[in-house]
């Protein structure tokens, strides 16, 4: 068992602290630091916590807008410290800056707040305990999780149909969730079938659209669950060929409003990210990649707004 580690949260001011306290106050060993105009004092408090600090949460009202140097200063202060940026929907940070500062964890809260904030403690505990993301972490206890191991590209459409069959019901909301779920499944499966398999020089082994059987030792597992409110999906392959640095770069590049490149350029991952409420990528280089996340039936996040992400690289094996 890991020793208890402190989670520190850096807020801009008291108003900022009050906004986040309903969800963050439930986290044990939480240490709140309000900058309130004096960054050096706040950094000094972080410095004093260094020995026990396992995760530093930063409000997006501080960084990158108000203090663009903050991530760099914190990394100098505590090298290797995991940083999680939390943002309300109306102050979503520019991804370019996050990419430059290697911020790999972002949680976005919708304007209306409460529903999506329910997952913030789960994201924090994931990072502090260095656990892998599990599909059931944002589903109600007892929810059935369906898992399928692929044999060929011909399994794609039946699996999408199986997902759609779980999202039963009438009405615009559930119909839209069905469409989103189908597209997410499509992108996840295409990514595992055609982007993940790489040769020794990093070249793609298969072209999109071609029929292919899985290679003898290749393993692709698609899982999903729906608890009536939240849909969670996960795709695991045993290639481990997705570079975490590339993911953030893909998201940043595709988010540029004038980007209409007709190539691939990670557009599939960008679409997955934008249709989920929280996007997870976990890579064990050369061995395993897991991509997935969750979205809510009554998601209040603006479809045009950036979403949260969790992009991690691990050294030990993940569960499929």
């Amino acid at each position: 068992m890991l020793p208890m580690q402190t989670v520190a949260v850096l807020y801009l001011d008291e108003e900022d602290r009050k906004f986040w306290s309903p969800s963050l106050d439930r986290i044990p060993e939480l240490f709140s630091i309000t900058v309130a105009g004096c960054l050096s004092l706040a950094l000094d408090r972080v410095r004093r916590l260094r020995g026990s600090l396992g995760l530093l949460v930063i409000s997006a009202r501080l960084y990158p807008g108000k203090y663009p140097e903050l991530a760099r200063l914190l990394r100098e202060l505590a090298p290797g410290l995991e940083l999680l940026l939390i943002s309300s929907e109306d102050s979503s940070p520019a991804l370019g800056q996050l990419f430059a500062d290697d911020i790999r964890h972002l949680a976005i809260d919708s304007r209306q707040g409460v529903p999506s904030r329910g997952c913030l403690p789960a994201v924090v505990s994931l990072l502090i305990e260095q656990r892998h993301w599990e599909i059931g972490s944002c589903l109600k206890p007892g929810t059935t999780v369906y898992s399928f191991q692929l044999r060929s590209s011909e399994d794609k459409e039946p699996l999408i149909a199986a997902l759609e069959a779980v999202l039963t019901g009438d009405g615009e909301e559930i119909a839209l969730l069905r469409e989103k779920g189908a597209l997410l499944a499509d992108e996840l499966l295409e990514n595992a079938l055609y982007n993940a398999p790489r040769g020794s020089r990093g070249d793609r082994l298969f072209q999109k659209g071609e029929r292919r059987d899985l290679l003898p030792r290749e393993r692709i597992v698609f899982s999903f669950g729906f608890d009536g409110e939240t849909l969670a999906l996960k795709l695991t392959d045993n290639w481990g060929s997705l570079a975490p640095d590339s993911v953030l770069e893909y998201l940043a590049r595709n988010q540029e409003e004038d980007s209409v490149a007709d190539g691939d350029g990670g557009r599939g991952l960008f679409i997955i990210w934008r249709f989920l409420d929280q996007f997870h990528v976990e890579v064990l280089p050369g061995q395993q990649t897991a991509v997935g996340g969750h979205l809510q039936l009554s998601s209040r996040l603006d479809p045009e707004a950036p979403r949260g992400f969790h992009i991690a690289e691990y050294k030990k094996e993940m569960a499929a």
């Binding site: 597209l183 992108e187 295409e190 072209q207 004038d258 209409v260 007709d262 557009r267 960008f270 679409i271």
Partner: protein
């Protein structure tokens, strides 16, 4: 897919090309979408998505390539878009090359 000329909403006859896209738009539409630019004859082109289903990232890439090729010589209008298509096109930059048509879906396509 269909191609036709029809009357505009104002009653004045406007010659244009019309393409009806059906089903899932993905890597399997490569050949079909590559052929469309060479079939465009007029300075206005309508793409009807009312029968289109899922459009994945490969489908988006193919549509962008198709629209870029047509865009230098014709104005592109999109109609029959579902809320999902709208979301997708907005976030992937499709609307920078082709604008949604103001009028409701046209009828009487010729196969």
């Amino acid at each position: 897919m269909n191609s036709k000329a029809s009357a505009s909403a104002s009653g004045a006859v406007t010659a244009h090309d019309y393409f009806l896209l059906e089903g899932t738009i993905d890597a399997h539409c490569d050949k079909l979408l590559k052929e469309i630019p060479s079939r465009v004859r007029h300075t206005q082109v309508y793409f009807d998505f009312s029968k289109a289903g899922r459009i994945n990232s490969m489908g988006i890439a193919l549509l962008l390539r198709c629209f870029k090729e047509i865009g230098s010589r014709a104005e592109i209008r999109l109609e029959g878009l579902s809320p999902m298509h709208n979301m997708l096109f907005k976030m992937t930059g499709v609307f920078l090359l082709a604008a949604p048509a103001q009028s409701p879906g046209r009828e009487g396509g010729v196969r």
